[in-house]
């Protein structure tokens, strides 16, 4: 009887052990759901279905487009003859105005006005020709809209082409007229190749912000023109091949997604909740609990932005600029400006720009973020004794709509007015610009005059930071940030975020010290007690 009980008992223990070990192993495996299983993926795939071309027109058949164009505004007029409201719409958009909201305390935010950054610093109220080359007018805000920047599918150098046309017509000889005819043909082809904006269209400006490929945004560069799925799961040409506008939902030429003083969105509605909702948030298509049910990841979505885990690194193909030191600008070799290159073939020194640092595969920095950035203008007073945040994410942990969000943080060393304590906006392009004359005083005098802000004549340099929210280059599931990159004591990705307890990262120093001391004392105590028993029992036997 006793033996039987023993057997039954032991087998029960073994069975229980087995069940536990296997269930523990199973739940560990369950952390890796199959793609098809996660509701966020299923929802997004449903939302994405039925992607066809639904255009009802073929622009090559429109008579108005089959004419000889002699200027940009001719083309615009032709476009507007059908799309009668397009110019009114465009003129109200930020793509045209380069302004953010209404003026606040005499400061007009936006690169078209008072805002500054720590790259080329300022567009000098649209007077810097280099900066303005990205404006969608044929030549700045005073001219007509160049619809083809966003809608044209052929790459044409408009100004050169029109200049050549004028020249050939002026020459008037048969050979020149033939050349002109050829150019007209090219122009016409370009004018009728019309489409919704592709990645190439948007990228022609947005990939090159700050004066070069990947300079400004770490998550936007020419590698996204034809990205692999590995670089971006949505835009990958071997995957969904999304155009920018797939997520940047557009209404009356207003393209969603702009983040500046105002957030890009104020609510996180999925298309199920509002089928006219903008698709600018991840939640629009993936829902707010996109992971397989029961996964802890779903419990993170209220505090951690999707981007924080799903974009482990940015600049994964092309390098991005991480530091720009203007104070080193102006050096010459043999009396001439020079440049040097780093291991990526990027300029790490340019006499006309200063010293630069480029990096690839950069881990973002994480901050609480409610969707708004606070940025500085040429009219803001700074404290040059500290690092100046030219832009900074706003948001506190206590705000329900704030999330932990990944940023590229660009460091700058840039000029400021020692007397007025304002950031200086040098004029860079043009005959008097710093790029040409390499004369800071001249550049500041010209630039600040355009900005309408006084310059004392005395300048120095200050350390600055500029923040870019990271949202593109969403990596495949296999590459996401793992739990223990944040939930770890050393080198946690979230080491800088304080004021709350985070498992695995935080500890209670005193409790742990006292706790382990008690454990150690108990262990020593029982060992001594045991040793005493052995000792005295030996003595007794003697």
């Amino acid at each position: 009887m006793k033996k039987d009980t023993e057997k039954i008992f032991l087998s029960t223990i073994i069975l229980v052990l087995f069940v536990f070990l296997s269930s523990a192993g199973f739940s560990a495996e369950a952390e890796q759901p199959a793609l098809e299983d996660s509701p966020g993926m299923v929802m997004a795939q449903q939302a994405e279905k039925g992607k066809t071309t639904w255009s009802t027109t073929d622009h090559s058949k429109h008579k108005i487009l089959n004419q000889d164009f002699t200027s940009g505004s001719d083309i615009t007029k032709a476009c507007l003859s059908c799309h009668s409201e397009a110019d009114d719409q465009i003129h109200k958009t930020v793509h045209w105005t380069w302004l953010a909201g209404e003026p606040v305390n005499g400061k007009q935010y936006g690169k078209g006005a008072d805002s500054v950054n720590n790259f080329c610093i300022s567009a000098n109220n649209m007077n810097d020709k280099g900066c303005v080359s990205c404006h969608i007018g044929w030549s700045g805000k005073d001219d007509q809209i160049n619809c083809l920047v966003c809608h044209g599918q052929n790459n044409v150098k408009w100004k050169e082409t029109f200049d050549d046309l004028t020249y050939f017509h002026k020459e008037g000889d048969p050979e020149s007229l033939e050349m002109a005819q050829e150019l007209q043909g090219e122009l016409r082809k370009a004018v009728v190749s019309i489409a919704r904006p592709t990645r190439q269209n948007c990228g022609s400006c947005h990939f090159y912000g700050g004066g070069g490929d990947g300079v400004k945004h770490g998550d936007l560069d020419s590698s996204l023109t034809k990205p692999s799925k590995n670089l971006d799961v949505h835009m990958g040409i071997d995957g969904k091949d999304f155009a920018c506008t797939r997520c940047h939902t557009t209404e009356l030429h207003n393209i969603s997604g702009r983040i500046y003083t105002a957030p890009a969105y104020t609510d996180r509605k999925s298309l199920l909740e509002n089928d006219q909702a903008s698709r600018i948030t991840c939640e629009s298509c993936h829902g707010s609990r996109p992971h397989k049910s029961g996964l802890k990841e779903n419990d993170h979505t209220d505090r951690v932005a999707c981007q924080s885990c799903h974009i482990p690194e940015f600049a994964r193909v092309n390098p991005t600029k991480m530091k720009w030191d203007w104070s080193k600008a102006g050096k010459t070799k043999d009396g001439k400006p020079y440049t040097t290159e780093d291991q990526y073939g990027q300029h790490n020194y340019m006499s006309i720009k200063g010293e630069m640092k480029w990096e690839k595969n950069v881990k973002p920095q994480y901050y609480w973020y409610n969707g708004s950035l606070r940025s500085l203008t040429t009219k803001d007073i700074i404290d040059p004794t500290k690092t100046v945040y030219v832009s900074k994410p706003t948001g506190k942990r206590e705000e329900p709509n704030a999330r932990i969000y990944p940023f590229k943080v660009h460091e700058g060393v840039q000029p400021y007015d020692k007397i007025h304590k304002t950031l200086l906006a040098p004029l860079l392009s043009g005959d008097d610009g710093f790029f040409t004359k390499m004369d800071f005083q001249l550049a500041f005098n010209k630039g600040m005059a355009f900005s309408g802000v006084p310059y004392s004549g005395q300048f120095d340099f200050v350390n600055t930071k500029y923040f870019f929210p990271t949202t593109h280059m969403v990596a495949p599931k296999s590459d996401v940030v793992s739990c223990n990159e944040c939930h770890t004591r050393n080198n946690s990705r979230l080491a800088n975020l304080t004021g709350f307890y985070m498992p695995g990262r935080d500890r209670f120093t005193l409790l742990c010290q006292v706790g382990w001391l008690i454990i150690a004392l108990s262990a020593v105590g029982v060992l001594l007690h045991g040793a005493g028993r052995i000792f005295f029992s030996g003595k007794r036997k003697e």
Binding site: V526, H529, G532
Partner: protein
């Protein structure tokens, strides 16, 4: 040992399986818990959390069965604390045991626990383990706090209490394991918890007040 020994059936099958199941769960919880707290790396944070949660919830549910068992069988009376003979038990462990004295409170079927055990196991079963399960459950359900109206609680506080209890349980474990060696042979108590049968000195009588039915 001077007296003649006899075998008594001290622990029922349920008691023993519960004891070892609980031991296994607490051990797993301690190992994974300290890893989640960042004390070391073993399974990896993600797996450790997953195992900890699964085992924790299993413990909670199976503990309910234990409580049910305690009350339906009347075994809870074995946990009623007393001060009688307490001092002699303490004296035994700090002094008598070294001189080879008899244990002042021998075990019987209906008096399994000496006064020191009673107070220890009562604090354990009624205070420490429930506190650990309670804080653990709260920790686990962190995302519902807002909905439950307890969103004002800082997670750090719950984590602190949970950790403090974990240390207390670990300390109990260290002493408890050692105490199993203090029977009339090194493994007598251990064997009893496996087979259910404990060898006791047959001459010793226990007093009525020590019995659970008293």
């Amino acid at each position: 040992m001077n007296g003649k020994m006899k075998n008594i059936y001290l622990y029922t099958r349920y008691e023993r399986s519960w004891h070892w199941l609980q031991m296994f769960m607490i051990l797993l919880l301690l190992i994974t818990g300290f890893e989640v707290h960042g004390a070391y790396k073993l399974l990896g944070f993600e797996t450790a959390v997953s195992v900890h949660n699964t085992v924790g919830i299993t413990w909670l549910i199976s503990f309910a069965f234990f409580v049910f068992w305690l009350f339906t069988t009347g075994e809870w009376k074995q946990y009623i604390p007393t001060t009688r003979k307490m001092l002699s038990v303490v004296r035994y462990y700090v002094y008598g045991i070294f001189r080879g004295e008899e244990h002042p409170v021998p075990k019987r079927k209906d008096a399994k626990h000496n006064p020191l055990q009673r107070i220890t196991y009562l604090s354990l079963a009624a205070l420490l383990l429930p506190a650990q399960m309670g804080t653990g459950f709260l920790y686990w359900s962190y995302n519902h706090w807002e909905a439950w109206g307890i969103g004002f609680l800082p997670l750090g506080l719950i984590a602190f209490l949970h950790m403090a209890c974990a240390f207390a349980i670990l300390q109990f474990l260290v002493i408890h394991v050692y105490m199993t060696t203090t029977g009339h042979t090194l493994f007598a108590h251990l064997k009893a918890m496996i087979t259910g049968w404990e060898e006791v000195d047959e001459r010793v009588r226990i007093e009525d007040w020590e019995k659970k039915s008293s």
